[in-house]
Symmetry: C2
Subunit: 206 residues, 2 copies
């Protein structure tokens, strides 16, 4: 048994942050009503439902720069941009506490892009760009976090990375995964498996 409850705060945080497993690695783009652009790395985006197409993410009061939350609340829009292995250092650097009037797009040298008249900026180099419309913010009273729920407005991705059955091949697109507070990983597919049924063992489908 690991005695993490007696560890000092930072060590405990690094450990507990590792325990959920591998995480998604995304850059969230927002723009304030006054026109200030913001970019921040999140590792808490998760699937919530396919119809309506909903994604959730967690905003932690003490950790995440509050600009993202402020701008997406006031504008109602944000973008989710998957991190490619060629720019993981820039993505990580976006978590530094820059001055409010500094755009992280400029600070970390990731080119922004506006698509289809959508209000919030995308990361041009990202292989998966998702336009999100804010639907609901659920407070988590246990620790003051907020769960941000958005609906997918549109997706920009190379159609060649989508298989016939709709699966998107993130690995082929060079999307990475993250673990703990600071570890970045590429992936190597073991297999895709057929839909599980009680009377037969799954087959490798790819």
């Amino acid at each position: 048994m690991i005695e993490f409850k007696s560890w000092e705060k930072r060590k405990r945080a690094a450990f507990i942050n590792s325990l959920s497993g591998f995480k998604s690695c995304n850059l969230i783009g927002t723009k304030s009503v006054k026109g200030q652009e913001n970019l921040a790395i999140f590792s808490s985006v998760f699937h919530l439902g396919a119809d309506p197409a909903l994604l959730g993410m967690i905003s932690r009061p003490n950790v995440v720069p509050r600009d993202t939350l402020e701008y997406l609340k006031e504008s109602g829009y944000y973008t989710i941009n998957h991190v490619h292995h060629t720019f993981f250092e820039k993505a990580h650097q976006s978590s530094a506490r820059y001055d409010k009037e500094m755009s992280e797009f400029e600070a970390v040298q990731l080119e922004k892009e506006y698509l289809n008249q959508f209000q919030a900026p995308f990361v041009k180099a990202s292989p998966v760009k998702i336009a999100m419309r804010l639907r609901e913010i659920l407070p988590i009273k246990l620790n003051g976090c907020e769960m941000i729920i958005g609906e997918i407005d549109f997706v920009e991705v190379d159609p060649k990375a989508i298989t016939d059955n709709g699966h998107l091949d993130l690995e082929r697109l060079g999307v990475i995964t993250t673990s703990g507070l600071d570890s970045y990983h590429q992936t190597k597919r073991i297999a895709r498996l057929s839909y599980a049924k009680p009377d037969q063992w799954p087959k490798v489908i790819d």
Copy 2:
């Protein structure tokens, strides 16, 4: 722009399930008050906070076997067991709709284990075993999902996989990640990066 809104239901589900990025891959162990054991694969476990040590996960009404939710609600306890690459097929197979009185531990041939008098069963072969106490269930009205929030009671993991600063090396432990509905991946670390500060570029720390 990908026209997923006009796709048939299954293809749309496969695509949207891929969009959040790489996901955690866990087996959730529960036991009903009457003694029935259950095991189910989840890819939605996420970090919520380090102190109190909270993990969240999403229960989807139409997808996940309801036994897990029923048993953890009635008992108040569950286990989170990370999936090792040697048993990903068994983990996947746990999602088949077995009869209620069938234990998935037996059906997929994963040995169970009870630790420290904890009420719910663990997966013996899992390299990261987390004992969870249910704290809260938040309904998500937009689509009928529920967010299950639990507090970590104790963790069993090889202490050699924990670095000095508390980071747990999941890759070294053989833990895998998943994407979409059916794709399993091993990882290959690119780097760990130092804490980001505005006035300097992050350093590789491992």
